[in-house]
């Protein structure tokens, strides 16, 4: 592992034009060529290359739990963060990061958001996962129970009486709920 990193860093510095790429294959068969530092943000990729010594640059790593759409979103995020890191290695420019994250997530539908949470969880990118769960929490904040059911795609298995009883029991929690 240590030798591979050392060699990759030396090669990238000697020929900055040709960066080392890692190939990742999504569930629907598309292969993504990803710059190494970006791919290494994916914990699952990092450990795959750390644990398997016989993998080479040509190895295509299959990611059966990640769709192409989600992969696009994830790489967009990771590339942006790599860019921030490269410009300011010490501390990320807080405001810029926040502005990027806000714009980035605004374009995503609820469905896409959930896809990405699943992918981020599988790929083990804790930073992205924390960010996305935070976004999901914001989206269901102050929403009705019906909205949350639709959001997570959960079927209501309570009878109307059961639901009414629960609503009474948790009366204290039902103040100031937004309309959907």
């Amino acid at each position: 592992m240590s030798s591979s990193i050392a060699s990759s860093s030396s090669s990238s510095s000697s020929s900055s034009k040709k960066e080392k790429k890692i190939s990742l294959k999504t569930s629907d068969g598309e292969v993504f060529e990803v710059e190494e530092p970006v791919a290494m943000q994916l914990e699952i990729v990092r450990s795959f290359f750390a644990d398997n010594e016989d993998v080479t640059e040509q190895t295509v790593m299959p990611l059966p739990n990640v769709s192409t759409a989600a992969m696009h979103g994830i790489l967009e995020y990771c590339r942006a963060h790599e860019e921030f890191r490269r410009r300011m290695p010490e501390a990320a420019p807080e405001e810029e990061v926040r502005a990027f994250e806000a714009g980035y997530v605004d374009r995503k539908s609820n469905e896409e958001l959930k896809e990405m949470i699943l992918a981020a969880n599988y790929l083990n990118i804790s930073k992205l996962l924390d960010f996305l769960t935070g976004v999901a929490a914001k989206r269901i904040e102050n929403k009705s129970v019906e909205y949350v059911r639709a959001f997570f795609g959960v079927e209501n298995d309570f009878t109307p009486e059961e639901e009414a009883n629960l609503r009474r029991e948790y009366e204290w929690a039902f103040e100031g709920v937004d309309e959907d």
């Binding site: 959960v154 209501n156 309570f158 709920v177």
Partner: protein
């Protein structure tokens, strides 16, 4: 539980299919989204949306209800309240059922913390007035700390005597002062909130006479508060409140008051008058006064007693060993605003030393260590309850008790004075919340929603309180006797 979420979202179904040659096709039916989010991620989201939202989520589905009511989640929410988690836990397990205190606490596993959270969020706040003999601390139970303090003795005189007019003046003044504090978004009116008020530690001899005085004082306080239309009153003595603040229901409370220091043995929340409450005629006033005379002897000038008090609070401490401390260099200085720089040496630990050696200040009484040892001896001899270790926890209370080193010194002296069977396992705890200890004890009581008060959310905790109606009935009964 975690798996439950996933299982509910997926279902294998065997369906008859007309166009299939096999006749039977296994179809993977998924409700809603393509894949359900795993339990730990849902938990992470629920943690982020906060308690109220989380409680609403129990209506989403049965599986959601079971994971949302997970105690760990609610302990997390309770931990993020203004009150420390340990105190919340203590209050809910020990104080919930009111007085007398249960000897055996409610088991943690029996409690649903979601339920507790809901109840606590519905508790109507109460006004807390701790009329300490030196300073009166007052505030609103839902806030993190008292909102203000008034110098009780200087302003109102002795509020330990049952004088109706003085008492009324005291309470109405405090109420009006609370109104003027802009911090209160809500109106603090006597008629809208219940009150938790502390009773001074006095008349604690085990005589009929003392009992009558105690009742007289308590009735006077009730009378005044009900006359200014307070709906319910919870009156507890300062020592017990300090004990609760230390999250204990049994122990010996050493309260260094304005003029008197009292040593109060308490078993299961009840003051053990039969065992004996010890008093030392040496309080905060004498300690500050002694520092003043030391300053005068050394020709250190000061404008007011407030300067002396600041010096006492900031520079003074109690030496672990008085004689060796005299040989050390203990010089330290501080800036008193408007007065300038002050440098003290020996005075720093001589001041607090009079608690252990009262003769230094010309007071003929026993030392603090002797009084506590005496009390422990009595507790030991009384053989109350199954275990004889209830009195081995000593809780310090009162502003002067905050002097650094006091707890350690008392611990050391007690071990010297008492034989091993009594001294083994002694623990001296410094004031849990500094000078405001009793106030915080009262806060614990006022934030627990009690079982018996389930249906009366507008009024207040049943078991700890007296309502106007109950008080009227009681006085009428007493008159008839």
């Amino acid at each position: 539980m975690g798996v439950g979420v996933d299982q509910d979202a997926f279902e294998w179904r065997v369906v008859d299919s007309a166009d299939s040659n096999n006749g039977l096709v296994v179809v993977f039916v998924v409700y809603g989204i393509v894949r359900s989010l795993p339990f730990d991620i849902l938990m992470q989201i629920v943690t982020l949306i906060g308690p109220k939202e989380a409680a609403r989520m129990s209506l989403v589905s049965k599986s959601w209800r079971s994971f949302v009511s997970d105690n760990r989640l609610w302990i997390y929410f309770l931990q993020n309240q203004t009150e420390p988690w340990d105190s919340t836990f203590f209050a809910e397990t020990m104080l919930r059922s009111g007085y007398p205190i249960q000897t055996y606490p409610t088991h943690m596993t029996e409690l649903s913390y979601m339920h507790i959270y809901g109840q606590r969020s519905q508790v109507p706040g109460s006004v807390i007035i701790d009329g300490g003999s030196g300073y009166c601390k007052f505030g609103w139970s839902k806030y993190a700390c008292p909102s203000g303090a008034s110098a009780t003795f200087l302003e109102f005189g002795n509020i330990e005597s049952p004088l109706y007019s003085r008492m009324r003046h005291f309470f109405t003044t405090i109420y009006s002062r609370m109104l003027t504090i802009s911090l209160y978004r809500m109106q603090v009116k006597p008629s809208t909130q219940p009150i938790v008020v502390s009773l001074p530690i006095c008349h604690y001899d085990d005589t009929e006479n003392a009992k009558a005085s105690r009742r007289q004082l308590k009735d006077c306080i009730y009378q005044v508060l009900f006359d200014i239309n307070v709906p319910a009153v919870c009156a507890l003595n300062q020592a017990t409140l300090a004990l609760y603040a230390a999250r204990r229901t049994s122990g010996i409370v050493v309260n260094i008051g304005f003029q008197v220091t009292s040593v109060v043995p308490i078993l299961n929340g009840k003051v053990m008058r039969k065992v004996g409450v010890e008093f030392i005629g040496l309080g905060a006033l004498k300690v500050t006064g002694f520092l003043r005379s030391l300053l005068q002897q050394n020709n250190i000038k000061f404008e007011s007693l407030y300067t002396v008090r600041s010096l006492k609070e900031k520079l003074c401490y109690v030496a672990a060993d008085y004689k060796t401390e005299l040989l050390r260099n203990t010089q330290a200085s501080m800036e008193v605003t408007g007065e300038g720089q002050y440098t003290l040496t020996k005075e720093r630990f001589q001041t607090g030393e009079i608690l252990f050696q009262p003769h230094m200040a010309g007071v003929r009484t026993m030392g603090l260590d002797q009084a506590v040892a005496l009390c422990m001896d009595h507790c030991y001899a009384a053989e109350l309850g199954g275990d004889d270790s209830w009195f081995k926890t000593v809780i310090l209370a009162g502003g002067t008790a905050c002097l650094p080193g006091l707890a350690e010194r008392l611990d050391k002296e007690l071990h010297k004075l008492l034989p091993p069977p009594i001294s083994n396992g002694i623990r001296v705890i410094p004031p849990p919340n500094g000078a405001d200890t009793a106030w915080f004890g009262a806060k614990l009581i006022s934030n627990v929603r009690y079982l018996t008060a389930k249906n009366i959310s507008s009024t207040f905790p049943g078991p700890w309180c007296m309502t106007k109606k109950q008080f009227r009935r009681k006085t009428r009964f007493n008159l008839m006797r």
